[in-house]
């Protein structure tokens, strides 16, 4: 059989294509054909946070983890989450002593003698991810908004740095990042929760005082938490639709 150059290239080409196709099929088969992970559908979630003051030990792990995860400036004016220490004398709910040395970043050095007749407790704070958020309502350019999954986010490329939202937030959860002159705040670790991870503060809390919950998922343990505890939100009179639910919230906490 004679094989001219044309036929040789033609036959070789066909074999090459068949081989490549077979290899691809075999490879897909052998690798278990990992299916594309289901894309994150924001509309299927409605994120919230449950915080249990009775479990908070004021270790400051959440504050440190948050600053690490989100590259928050280390100065004591800039926090996405922080912990406050309350010292309340008996019935005097109007005049608690509140301190948060460096936001709790270094823990809480002993300040109050045990058994001084006051109750002392820690309150972790963060953005309440309000459903009817005052900060969103005042933004003149649409740089801050409630996402379809219930997280209050900032569009850093759109923010003017006008500071309206910093004044509007009743919980003091926003700061102006001195590096970019735009606003920054807790985004519930949006880059983590949308990939199935926990927010850094929840991941690092040793006592389970913080719990991320998806209110749209009927199997989420947050529903059990909300059934089992008598919860309150901060400043309910502001009607912000806060989604940070506190168990054991003292009347003195503002």
């Amino acid at each position: 059989m004679t094989l001219d150059r044309r036929a040789l290239f033609g036959t070789a080409g066909k074999y090459l294509i068949v081989t490549a196709a077979t290899a691809t099929v075999i490879e897909t088969f052998l690798s278990g054909a990992t299916p594309e992970p289901a894309a994150y559908a924001a509309a299927d979630h409605w994120w919230a946070m449950a915080l249990d003051i009775e479990k908070c030990i004021g270790c400051g792990n959440c504050v440190r983890a948050c600053k690490t995860e989100n590259n928050v400036p280390l100065e004591a004016e800039f926090f996405r989450t922080w912990v406050e220490r309350y010292h309340v004398r008996g019935e005097d709910l109007e005049h608690p002593d509140v301190d948060a040395p460096n936001g709790g970043y270094d823990g809480f050095p002993e300040k109050y003698a045990a058994g001084d007749g006051a109750r002392v407790f820690f309150v972790p704070k963060l953005c309440n991810h309000c459903a009817h958020s005052p900060c969103v309502q005042v933004c003149p350019v649409g740089a801050t908004f409630v996402s379809p999954d219930g997280v209050v986010l900032v569009d850093k490329s759109y923010c003017l740095g006008c500071r309206y939202c910093v004044q509007a937030c009743p919980y003091g959860c926003r700061y102006i990042d001195p590096r970019t002159n735009t606003v920054d705040k807790c985004n519930l670790c949006y880059h983590r929760i949308t990939k199935g991870l926990l927010p850094a503060c929840v991941e690092s809390c040793p006592t389970g005082a913080r719990m991320l919950g998806d209110l749209k998922n009927p199997k989420d343990p947050i529903h059990q938490f909300l059934r089992d505890h008598k919860v309150q939100v901060l400043k309910p009179q502001m009607a912000t639709g806060s989604k940070a639910f506190y168990n054991g919230l003292d009347g003195s906490v503002r």
Partner: protein, 155 residues
């Protein structure tokens, strides 16, 4: 009609100017407002993706257990069973991505006392010690196993 055109020239000029202004507004709006603005609400839809695209610094306990499943067995039945790895070991996504990045060694005493030093305000039922009174300041790990503190350390 002819009469109106002749006497109303000033009105037509104003109307033309107004129309040009409206046109300029819509042209500028089309140029300056991003295409995805307003898809979900009064914001840029791409901002959702911007918020998502950062890399995680904490790996998360499931990632730790991929390799260190034996530690989960150590924790079983202990008060530390529910404590997630990075609560003590710190952020280790870089180590999880590349095991050749070694995590820092932990000083047990300082580490334990972050949570367990007696401090007013900590819940009464949470185990707390004054390290001097408790052990004379000895290394916690000489008695307690960090992953299962109820068990005595082997060393």
């Amino acid at each position: 009609m002819k009469q109106l055109l002749r006497d109303g020239g000033h009105l037509i000029r104003v109307a033309a100017l107004f129309a040009a202004g409206v046109l300029a507004f819509f042209v500028m709006r089309g140029l300056l407002v991003p295409a995805d603005f307003g898809r979900y609400g009064h914001y840029r839809a791409g901002a959702l993706e911007d918020n998502r695209k950062r890399a995680a610094v904490f790996a998360g306990k499931p990632a730790c257990l991929d390799c260190h499943g034996d530690v989960a067995d150590l924790q079983k039945g202990s008060k530390h069973a529910a404590v997630r790895c990075e609560a003590c070991h710190g952020a280790l996504a870089r180590h999880a991505d590349d095991p050749s990045v070694k995590p820092a060694r932990l000083g047990a005493a300082r580490l334990c006392l972050t949570c367990h030093r007696a401090t007013a305000g900590r819940p009464a039922k949470f185990p707390q010690v004054d390290p001097e009174a408790h052990s004379g300041g000895a290394d916690c790990a000489s008695c307690h196993r960090p992953h299962h503190p109820e068990q005595e350390s082997k060393s």
